[in-house]
């Protein structure tokens, strides 16, 4: 697992993709920080974190699109699947690599907080909550993106499908508001990423929210493993 994780992580920096992801996140994150926090003279980062949601929806599919589709295309998955490793080691190795990459993206938010602390004391506990929320949100989106990467050998298809799901996640709340049937509205509300994520951003770490995001990670990583099991047996 460690070998796969190391290779996957370093491969982000063998091509330009790792640098592009980092710079895109830093530039847009920095813009939000400047426009929302600094221009408005506020120490609160809540709205900055809220806005990062949209960036993740588009950036994480780029981060995950090549994880498995590239292996399929280059036929290198054959080396992985005939090596003495378990399927879950392969999936988890890749997942952790993408997660690490994502972590490098979001540590920049700590610098936002430090910048603010020069002017006035920010609410560290709220920022801590937001950071946990951002991490969990990213972890869920990565597992979804990786799942789409595992079912196709085309990176573009993997990215576009994951973005489509991401945009749906983004729209869940608006869709549920326009629903007149309360049953469907309840379902949509309960799978809303946005409302759960926003809980974290006001500093509330709710156990159900944590469990929700971890469940999403678990389910999609499990599905990714099943994709390979199925392929082997068909």
């Amino acid at each position: 697992m460690l070998a796969i994780m190391k290779r996957e992580f370093s491969s982000y920096f063998l091509s330009a993709i790792g640098y592009i992801i980092l710079s895109v996140f830093y530039v847009f994150g920095g813009f939000y920080f400047y426009a929302i926090s600094l221009l408005n003279n506020t120490t609160s980062l809540t709205y900055v974190f809220n806005s990062l949601f949209v960036i993740l929806i588009f950036l994480i599919p780029i981060l995950t699109m090549r994880l498995f589709s590239e292996e399929k295309k280059q036929k290198t998955e054959q080396a992985l699947l005939t090596a003495p490793v378990n399927l879950w080691e392969i999936v988890l190795g890749k997942y952790v690599a993408a997660l690490l990459m994502f972590l490098i993206c979001i540590v920049v938010t700590i610098f936002y907080a430090i910048t603010i602390s020069f002017f006035n004391m920010p609410s560290w506990s709220t920022i801590f909550g937001s950071f946990i929320g951002l991490f969990l949100l990213g972890a869920s989106l990565i597992s979804i993106g990786m799942f789409f990467s595992s079912i196709t050998e085309n990176q573009i298809i993997a990215a576009v499908s994951a973005i489509a799901v991401g945009v749906f996640i983004l729209l869940i709340d608006s869709i549920s508001q326009s629903m007149s049937i309360s049953f469907i509205r309840n379902i949509l509300n309960s799978v809303s990423f946005m409302s759960r994520y926003n809980n974290f951003n006001v500093g509330v770490i709710n156990l159900t929210d944590v469990v929700f995001f971890i469940s999403v990670c678990f389910i999609f990583n499990f599905l990714t493993i099943r994709v390979f099991e199925k392929k082997r047996w068909s």
């Binding site: 070998a3 190391k6 490793v85």
Partner: protein
Amino acid sequence: MIEVKNISKKYGSKLALDNINFSLKDGEILGFLGPNGAGKSTTMNIITGYISSTTGTVMVDEDEIMENPINVKKKIGYLPEQPPLYQDMTVKEYLSFMYDLKKVKLNKKEHIESICNLVKISDVYDRLIKNLSKGYKQRVGIAQALLGDPEVLILDEPTVGLDPNQIMEIRSLIKRLGEKHTIILSSHILSEIQSVCSRIIVIDKGKIVADDTASNLSSSLSMDSRLLISIEGEPNDVIESLKDIEGVKTVVLGEQKDQNTFEYIVTYDKNIDVRKNVFSVMAQKECPIVSMNNVDMSLEDIFLRLTQGDEEVVEEKSVTDEMPDNDKVSEEKNNKILEQEENLDKEQKDGSEE
């Protein structure tokens, strides 16, 4: 060492492998021979655990591949048809990764170095894999299979894409490796298999058609020689006259080359050179010979001829016969077509079993 029992593989409704059985002792070098799409790679993929079989079991020592995959995979080094290379890594990074992936517990630096020397890739050690030539890529693939010194090596067409010098090198390398390892390799080139393997399994259309030692197989295959002749003239007449020539065993109608010109595959006793006779007989019949070639016994050629021949015979409804004595059995074309197909099968079996 390896025991393959009743392996079948279905892709949807297509039967890719049909009841494959064989076993392999320690230190044997086994060659899989067959045309493209015969099921060589599928068999190898099943033995290495890349895909599952629909029915049947593969035992390596005491372990079954699907029940104890980790144990089995530890013992197998696999070079797939297309070497699994990460194009954006250097050879060094790649081999180091594969070493870690396979959880090898040897001295890493020494081990990788000795393998690089063995397959002669030390001079490209620091280059990106995507910039290497096909031959070097193939060798990196072999190096990868050798990592961890596995007891079994499975090499799928290891010499494809190499130049003749490299082919010789790789063959002698495989021979040397065979002293310590059990090897299964596949190829569609008979001479390659002959020169390297102690035992040969011929696969066609998912079935084992022959399983024998190299010497037995090659002697039976080279009992007859083959001529590929293009002759202008009425096919039935030409076949009649050809099979009357002394030494000619079978005449098979091949494809139509031109209007009124057909290709014939003539099998003849290798002790009798029939070429002069063929020439004079055809000259008498005023059927000009457009070309005449001795066909090398490349199984790939024969397989291709056989499979293509079948289709064309059905399309063109033409006639062939086997032995000169037992013809004139039937005037009906359909019967003859059936007969020919049987003959081809028989011929194939004769060729490989004797």
